[in-house]
Amino acid sequence: MSEENKYWHILEEFEPIKDERLPKGREEVTSPTSRRNFLKVLGLGTASAAFIASCKRPAEKAIPYFIKPEEITPGKAAYYASSYFNQNEFCNVLVKVRDNRPIKLEPNPKSVVTPQGTSGRVQASVLDVYNVNRYQHPQKSGESIDWETADGEIVSQLRQLANEGQPVILLTPTIISPTTKKLIGDFAETFGAEWQQYDAIPMDGFREANQRTFGVNALPEYRFDKADCIVSVGCDFLGTWLSPVEFSGQYAKRRDLFNGDGNLNKHYQIEAGMSLTGSNADVRIRAERSDYGRILAYLYNQLATQKGAPAIDVPTPPQEITTKLDEVVADLAASEGKSLVVCGDNNPDYQVIVNGINQLLGNIENTIQFERTYNHFRGSEKSLETLVNSNPGAVIIWDVNPVYNHPKSEKIKAAIEKAPLSVAISALPDETTELCQYVLPSPGYLECWDDAEYKTGVVSILQPTLHKLFDARQAQESLLAWMGDESSWLDTIKNNWASTYFPQQNEQSDTERFWVETLKKGELVLETTPESITFNPDEIGNSLNTINTENQVEGFTIELVENVNIGTGHGPLNPWLQEVPDPVTRIAWDNYASISPAVARQEDIKNGDVIQLGNLTIPAFVQPGQADKTISIAVGYGRVNGIPEKLITGVNAYPLAKVENGSRQFAVPGFTITKTGDFEQMALVQGHQSMEGRPIVRESTYDKWKEDPASGNEMHEEIKHHHTTLYKKHEYKGHKWGMAIDLNKCTGCSACVLACNTENNIPVVGKKEVRRAHEMQWIRIDRYYNGDVENPEVARQPVMCQHCDNAPCENVCPVAATNHSSEGLNQMAYNRCIGTRYCNNNCPYKVRRFNWMDYTGADAIPNNRYDPANLTMDLSRMRHNPDVTVRAKGVIEKCSFCVQRIQEKKLTAKNEGRQLEDGELQPACQQACPSDAIVFGDMNDPNSKVSKMMKDPRNYHLLEELHTLPSVGYLTKIRNKS
């Protein structure tokens, strides 16, 4: 229980420390850092602005504490509750801080919204703090100025403009912080400013549809865990749609055949491009993007006919789809009130029909609830129209980049340039900030105070875990300063909480106590009343009629999609995210145009052939399962401004989007393919897609599983039966660590890969090296296609070191650098490794990774560093987990089952004089997994979850016929199909 206290360790309890070096007139921020240490951090940060190709070990730069600050125990991590929000993704987190540096983000298990796991982006966000490209001082036209001057000039101009009645536009992303919203309101009032919210990829169509059908402008809660039958039309809810971490958890609960009630959901995915969600579906129906409307209409009409509701004749989708859709309809009809139909298209008419279907099926108030609606995605197309059309006098652009991610980029650019005053508030340079006169650096979220109401009635606090690295200031502080408000931003938040939320609760009677307790927990859950909704059936008819008049345009339709890890491409270019291969295509560092195999054959296009689509030249990728007439391209690539040249990658696909009827469309018809004759080799990490009939991912169907839980895994018993050995097994007397992975729950989101990267200091090798199969990630998520090449089934398998008890790799190391621990770990002594790579050759799973070059700067030879992502600079090195060795050139590394965590927890338990509890010890991958697919524990403990899973009839070991005796077990994948 003392552990818990450690978790909720907070900043507020400590005396603020005065720092004369901070700019005057500004409230000191209470900080966990001592002044001495702050100096050190600041010094390091500044020094690292330049490339320092130093061969010195980082240890030489460490300065020992002269007087140890009270709250810091060297070598011991502290955890602070906070939250991550980045435009379209939210996660309650615990920030792991070691020696004043946040080094890892972990899920907050007490969270209501995201108790299980995080996304990959959350994991990688810690790297953004230490980004060397951040603005370090306020700038005016590219010149550094100080805050006072900047504030003075901006305020005077704002007042003048306000007096002149010229419009002042404040362009922000969707703001979910209640205090900030109030603050902006005050600001707008003060300066007569117009506040516009902008989303790179909007969901205003959803809000509009809900307004039309239910009379509320809200994004409801979707309960995937309550749905027996999920039908998703082009909706990537496990990867990028609305709240993927939450949905992954809900979805996985219904894929769980080990803990759950054995009631598997059935997931239909109807889509054009192969999405992460589609690749997890039980039944994936390949359909053209341009047919989505008709498909929805068909589904509605069929259901309506069954339920006796009016149907409107709409051209039906092609025959081969309707036969499959009939099956979908039958399943939907059979699970009334327990089904869920979603569509990912922002077209309001489509959403209206989706609402109509869900209404018909009685899903409203069951699987779709309006109690705690989502507060993000408030942006609309109107915001930019205002900017472009209103000839603003002042533009304040806060952390959005429309110049990059809006198709009308040129007009926006013109509007900003024309405005007499343009101010950008941003941590990093981008396409938009470069156009603004003033650039005001803002800190990263790990350096900020903030609050957030992601879902109505669940309010979280963000607290800083690191003193601001640069001369940066939160946007809210700027607004306060401009308004002449002397109070600090923290006080503003506290005051707001005291006035707004304190009265709404009754647990705490003292406002200060209330604040501290909430801060410890990280969030406050309030009573809410559901939005009252009234269904308007007429809208369905209207929308059906609209769809009825849709023209079918000749040529290819391009759909712009988000990559699971890259998302909209907002924020700094994060090398960790870039290096994680897309879970579907397994390509890192690039975007590409996915075309179907049939088109590739017809047009004679091979992977990497550069094609021309409108104004876009982009390499093509042949994607099994892609609809023939649809080409999918991921947005979020092709950032140029403010990106170091060696990191520029991919092509910006946003300009292909179209603004139509006041909304942005990400599916645009009418393209033709032209081959340019160029070729670009992509960083494809998996060149072979088929399992070649090998029992690698074992699977079965739900029906067969119900009859025999070992179905699809019959060979496991047989192989076990045939196991013979010429020498006895070693005994493992104490712990024997093992891991079980439920293939039915893993969605492939890659959060584990990124968590592992962060935890284990895995270097980034860059596009060139990934192309050469030199990637370093310790976990990879293998993806195999099975069956019809036009619409294959997808099987996924996370593979890390299997920690074999009869490890072929250990036998062959000449210098004994890898051997087996007494707890069954396959361990590596990096210091001893001389890099023969023999172990890797002999590893049947090929999970060992070799430091081909000096990726980390840990090598003793000077001037040979290979650092494609500027991650060996002193600032970026602060991200390192000090418990894990940074490996030198020429050394083999691999998954260690997070041995540093094992040791730490063992020690804790020992100090507390107790046994380790099952589940107490989680490796980074398990911890980050939003779908709880990975379970780690002691196999010598018969009651541990992992040993129970190992005994499950579904359990098998990868390549078990080789008698390598892996410590990792996999539970078979069960598809709910006939």
Binding site: T724, T725, L726, N806, E961, H963
Partner: protein
């Protein structure tokens, strides 16, 4: 070189006394078989396995000798000329080995799991294109027809040169030897797979054929040594001197090491990788035949290695004969270990009256055939163009 007075050769006669001895030996063998069948009523697979094992050993001696002769001929070596007829005559027993195999045919079902075509598992089903009765029989016939032909034809040329000397015969001998070796190189392996490896039908080892070959070769050399020493003692081959024995001893020594080398290669690699599909073979043997398993290695490697290491040991006829006899028994044991665990199983296999007695019968038949053949030609080839080299060389 020691001066020796070479006595006059005594012409070989397959005398009555010898015949009586062989008859008694044959009788013992048959008696052992009859007791095993009717008195002890041993399980049928054990009977058949014994017949199979002895037929193989019978074949090995002839085939190994034929190989030894042909390989020396092809290598233009000449030291063997003085006892070449021993090898020739041993080779002539090959066709009779076929008869012994055929006698064991009724037991094939007991010996080979893959013959149970009604219930084969997946892996065995996949092997049927190779492991099926008709094809197996065809291979059997081809091996024996060709081996027998070569044994007969080579002998014919060799003898012909005695009477109408001509250099062309040597050329023909070499050419035929070449063809034989080519065929032997393939058939020795495939025959080992067919008749031995497929007893453990699931198991496989690429080295197996060569391993069996090396054992066969050592066994044949041991018998050549024994016969040559005996013939020397009775002055049938007076021209065989210590140099010949020395060299034969070296072969026995060297190829015992070679056998051990292959044994180790096969076992070490399988032990090291520890993949069940391969270890299954050795697990059975190491666990259930522990003593014999290690005895095999001691008799076939440790004994000849230390016993024949010194120069003098190889030049002492009696000593060399004893070592040869031990090694011959050792390879009988090796064959036992190759066959019994798979064909009989450790529950039923043991070394009893049958295993000890039956070989006498085969030995008697082998020697009878050998003596008959040997008596039909001159004991030493005459007019061999290189004959002089065989009588006048020395080991350092």
């Amino acid at each position: 070189m020691e001066k020796q007075n070479i006595p006059e050769p005594v012409p070989f006669k397959f005398g009555k006394k010898l015949k009586t001895y062989l008859g008694i030996a044959a009788g013992i063998g048959l008696l052992a078989l009859l007791i095993a069948v009717f008195v002890q009523q041993l399980p049928s697979e054990r009977i058949w396995a014994n017949l199979w094992m002895n037929a193989l050993m019978f074949l090995f001696l002839g085939l190994g000798a034929l190989f030894f002769w042909t390989v020396n001929t092809l290598g233009e070596s000449t030291w063997q000329i003085n006892f070449q007829r021993v090898m020739e005559s041993m080779g002539l027993t090959i066709p009779f080995a076929a008869i012994f195999f055929v006698l064991a045919f009724p037991g094939l079902k007991d010996l080979f799991e893959w013959t149970h075509t009604e219930h084969l598992d997946r892996i065995l089903q996949e092997k049927t294109p190779y492991l099926n009765m008709p094809f197996w029989m065809v291979r059997f016939a081809v091996y024996f027809i060709l081996w027998s032909f070569f044994a007969w034809y080579l002998r014919k040329i060799s003898v012909k040169n005695d009477f109408e000397p001509h250099d062309k015969y040597l050329g023909r001998l070499r050419a035929t030897s070449g063809w034989f070796i080519v065929f032997f190189a393939i058939s020795s392996s495939t025959a080992a797979w067919d008749w031995l490896m497929s007893i453990d039908a699931h198991w496989f080892s690429t080295l197996y054929g060569w391993y069996i070959f090396s054992g066969m070769f050592v066994a044949a050399i041991a018998v050549i040594i024994l016969i040559t020493i005996a013939f020397k003692k009775f002055n049938i081959l007076p021209n065989v001197n210590k140099e010949h024995l020395h060299d034969l001893g070296k072969y026995l020594f060297g190829f015992s090491i070679f056998w051990a080398y292959l044994w180790l290669s096969q076992y070490l690699l399988i032990w090291y990788s520890n993949i069940p599909e391969e270890t299954v073979y050795y697990v059975e043997r190491v666990n259930n035949y522990k003593t014999l398993f290690y005895m095999n290695l001691i008799i076939n490697f440790v004994v000849p290695f230390f016993a024949l290491m010194t120069r003098g040991s190889k030049r002492q006829p009696l000593y060399l004969a004893i070592v040869s006899l031990v090694v011959l028994l050792g390879h009988y044991l090796d064959l036992y270990l190759a066959i019994m665990p798979g064909a009989v199983g450790h529950e039923n296999a043991s070394i009893g009256l049958l295993e000890i007695g039956l070989p006498f019968f085969y030995l008697a038949v082998f020697l009878t055939l050998f003596f008959i053949s040997f008596g039909k030609a001159k004991p030493v080839p005459e007019n061999h163009p290189y004959a002089i080299e065989s009588s006048s060389y020395e080991n350092i």
